[in-house]
Every structure is written in C-alpha cells, then in structure tokens.
C-alpha cells in the first residue's frame, strides 16, 4: 500500500514525540520533507494542519494531516506494512505493546518534567516516581533485547527518544541512571546500534546543553 505520494513532517528537533515519528519513518526507509517549526512562532501550515492541538509532530501524507505521535507511528506501520512491522501480528502481544506505549505516554514525559521543575522534597518524590516507572519498564523488558522482542518495536519507538533526557534528569535528580536502571541503559545502547535510531536521535551533548538551558530558564521563571 506504500505509494509515492508526498510526505512532509512538521517537527521540532528536540521533541521526543517528533523523534518517535522520525525513527518510525527511518525504520521503514521512507523519504520525506522535513520542516523545522519554531514553536514560539508556529507556521500557518502547522496551525492549519493541526488546528485542535496546534502541536508537532504532524505528518502530512498526500496533503492529509495525521497528528499525535503514536497515532502517526501506527499509521506509518499500517500504510508501509510490507516490511519491518513495529506492532506484532498476535493480538495479545499487540495489546501488550499498546498498553506499555500508553504507559510511557502517561508517565515518562510528565514525571521527567517534574524532575526538572521541582526542588527539595517534591524533587525527591518525583525522582522516586520516575525511577519506579523505569523499574516497571525494566520488568516488562525482562530478558528480551527489545520491548518488541528480537527487533525494535512499538514500545521501543515510544520510549527511546527519552534517552535524550537521561543526562539532564540525572543532573537535576542527582542520580545515575546506569546504577538505578542498568537494564534500561543497556537497552538504550542496544537501540542505538540501529541506524534508524542512531541517525535520528540528535547529538546527546547538544541535547543535554539545550535541555539544561530550558531547565535553568524554567526554574528561574518560578
């Protein structure tokens, strides 16, 4: 069902949600036009294509917009279904993958952000919740190389962009991820052995610098 119709991605380089979509597109070997959005001055195209949430990422396929990162990832998986499936064929495993991707969506972003905007007792509480969440994810990963099994899957794509945040979060929360969640760090390194991840994720140092600037600013604004 894959076709030659034009594909454009509206994105912001640092957004973990945008990175998910870029990894999925790279995983499937799909070519597309990339448009970097300035989120403090959103383009008319973005506002037209995502009038409800006015957010990136937005995938525009043959003029039609698809919004919400994991909705886009499923769309890509269903349209380009000839190779490298991200969701398993078995309904029970699909349900598990959807459940854990939903868990990542509900927990990782908001808990991560709590780590960089809180201080004192609130920070300690946020850190505990954040690490508990990752320990649950380690439990789900188990002995598998990836959440998807032998190869990258839906949950791997949902979670790996947050690897970009690890250094900044370690700095804010005063912990070392490899000591707290060694399996997750090993998993992240394994994901980086895949071109579709390593060639997509922004440079870790550049991301760390950028995030620390944002964090400094958000703390100063409080």
């Amino acid at each position: 069902m894959a076709d030659n119709k034009k594909i454009t991605l509206l994105n912001s380089w640092i957004s973990p949600f945008g990175i998910r979509v870029r990894i999925a597109l790279a995983h499937k070997g799909i070519e597309y036009d990339y448009k970097e959005e300035n989120l403090s001055n959103k383009s008319p195209l973005l506002l037209q294509m995502n009038p409800v949430k006015k957010q990136i990422p937005v995938l525009i396929h043959d003029g039609k917009p698809v919004c919400e990162s994991m909705v886009i990832v499923q769309y890509i998986d269903e349209v380009w279904n000839q190779k490298s499936p991200l969701l398993p064929a078995d309904p029970c495993q699909r349900a598990q993958a959807r459940f854990w991707a939903d868990f990542v969506d509900k927990k990782v972003y908001s808990l991560g952000r709590q780590l960089w905007i809180t201080t004192g007792e609130a920070l300690e509480a946020a850190k505990k919740e954040f690490l508990d969440c990752f320990k649950l994810l380690e439990g789900e990963l188990g002995q598998k190389p990836y959440f998807g099994g032998e190869t990258l899957g839906f949950v791997d794509v949902a979670l790996i962009p947050f690897y970009l945040w690890f250094s900044a979060l370690e700095h804010c929360g005063n912990f070392i991820m490899v000591e707290e969640c060694p399996k997750i760090v090993a998993w992240a390194h394994r994901c980086m052995e895949n071109d579709c991840v390593s060639k997509t994720l922004p440079d870790l140092e550049k991301a760390f610098g950028f995030l620390m600037e944002i964090i400094k600013k958000q703390r100063a604004d409080k």
């Binding site: 909705v71 769309y75 309904p91 959807r98 459940f99």
Partner: protein
C-alpha cells in the same frame, strides 16, 4: 481464533471505560462473565490482573489480562476479526478515529470531570467552557467522519462512537445536576441525533445506565467525598 477460551470482564456498571469494553464485546456477540468490583475496594483478581494501574476495566481472555479501555476495544476487534469491524478499514480513517479518541481521553474527559471536581467555582466554569468547546470540535469531526451516516463509524457503531458514546450517561447526569445543556439542538445538532442512535443501538442499550440511577450514584460519590477525612 481463540473464541472458545473463556472471557471475563472486571468492571463496574457506572464506569464509562468499562462500558467501552462491554459495547465492543456486544458488537462481536462475545459471551463474557461480568465481575463487578465493589466501590471503595479492589479485588485480589483486579490487583493481580492489573498490577500497574490497579484499575478497571480488565478483560481476562483465557487467563490473560488486557488492560486500558481502548486497548481492550482494539484487542476485541483484533481477536474477533471476522464480525462487525470496530476500527475503520482505511489507515487514514483509523488515524482520525484514534486521534479523536486520544483527544477525548487526554483533554475532553478531564474537563468533564473538572466540572464536578474543580477546586473552585472559577475552575469549574473554565472546565465547562472547555467541555462545550470540545463538543463543538467533535460536532465538526462527526460531519467529516460520518459522511452523512448515523455514526462516526458510518452505518454502524465504530471505535470513535464507543470512545465518546461511553460518556453519554455522565454527560446527561452533568446536564441534569448542573441544570445546563452540553449536547444542544442548536449548537451540536448532529451529536444530539447521534446520541439517540447510539443509546438505542443493540450493543449499547443494555449497558448504558439510566440517567436517574447514575445521578443517584453520583450524589452518593459526592457525599462520600465530602465526608471523607481531610488529608
């Protein structure tokens, strides 16, 4: 497929999320045992089957649990694939249905809750305005998705119908208790008609609670919340 394995659903009659699972099972004519949780307690089976969130609904199919209402709906659609598809067949239409279902759960439902649970009168009013704005967006989405047919899914109830329709009981309770209109013939005429069709559907009518019964339940919940010791 695994249609002879037994199916249990852990839930409770007032929950819109549980209703989603029941509607999906009804659409596929799947027999299941409905295990109702008691308000204020969580059964051992629930805690064992959903250790991560400890919430209903949980579908247990041949001893394997599936959690999260929309994950369950998609699972039911995947397993009992031959009868009455719930998700649209076209990937773009599926993406649109999933987008709006995510909007309903992430943005719209918290506003609906906020109308009753907001910390101040101002917060409650703001929540009300967000609910009304959301319904206007959904009215517009209905026009695009239904293409002139009775449901978001077309001729038959589909994924987005289930995602939104499951809240109709609580919408009606909110209207009744707040003495206001959320679904309005003037502002959301298509949704008003859709709501009637949805509630009358064979897969819905036995699981949609009566407004009065749900209102009594809501009053009881509010009384409980007020009398709970402050923490």
């Amino acid at each position: 497929m695994a249609t002879t394995d037994d199916v249990k659903l852990i839930g409770a009659w007032p929950s819109p999320f549980v209703m989603r699972a029941r509607i999906a099972l009804n659409i596929k004519s799947v027999d299941y045992e409905f295990l109702q949780e008691q308000l204020g307690t969580k059964s051992d089976l629930l805690l064992k089957s959903n250790p991560v969130h400890k919430k209903i609904p949980v579908l247990i199919h041949g001893h394997k649990p599936v959690c999260e209402s929309l994950v369950i709906v998609q699972y039911v659609d995947d397993v009992w694939a031959s009868d009455q598809p719930i998700l649209p067949s076209d990937p773009y239409d599926r993406a649109i249905a999933r987008f709006w279902a995510a909007y309903i759960d992430d943005k719209w439902f918290p506003s609906l809750s906020g109308m009753a649970r907001g910390p101040t009168e101002e917060a409650k009013k703001a929540a009300y305005e967000q609910v009304v704005e959301g319904l206007a967006l959904l009215e517009d989405a209905f026009g695009k998705c239904s293409k002139g047919k009775p449901f978001f899914g077309g001729d038959r109830i589909g994924y987005l119908d289930i995602a939104l329709g499951s809240f109709l009981g609580w919408i009606r309770v909110t209207e009744k208790m707040g003495n206001l209109k959320l679904l309005d013939e003037a502002k959301t005429p298509h949704l008003v008609k859709w709501a009637e069709n949805f509630c009358a559907d064979a897969s819905v009518k036995d699981v949609m609670p009566e407004t009065d019964k749900l209102a009594e339940f809501a009053k009881m919940l509010m009384a409980k919340a007020k009398s709970a010791p402050p923490n």
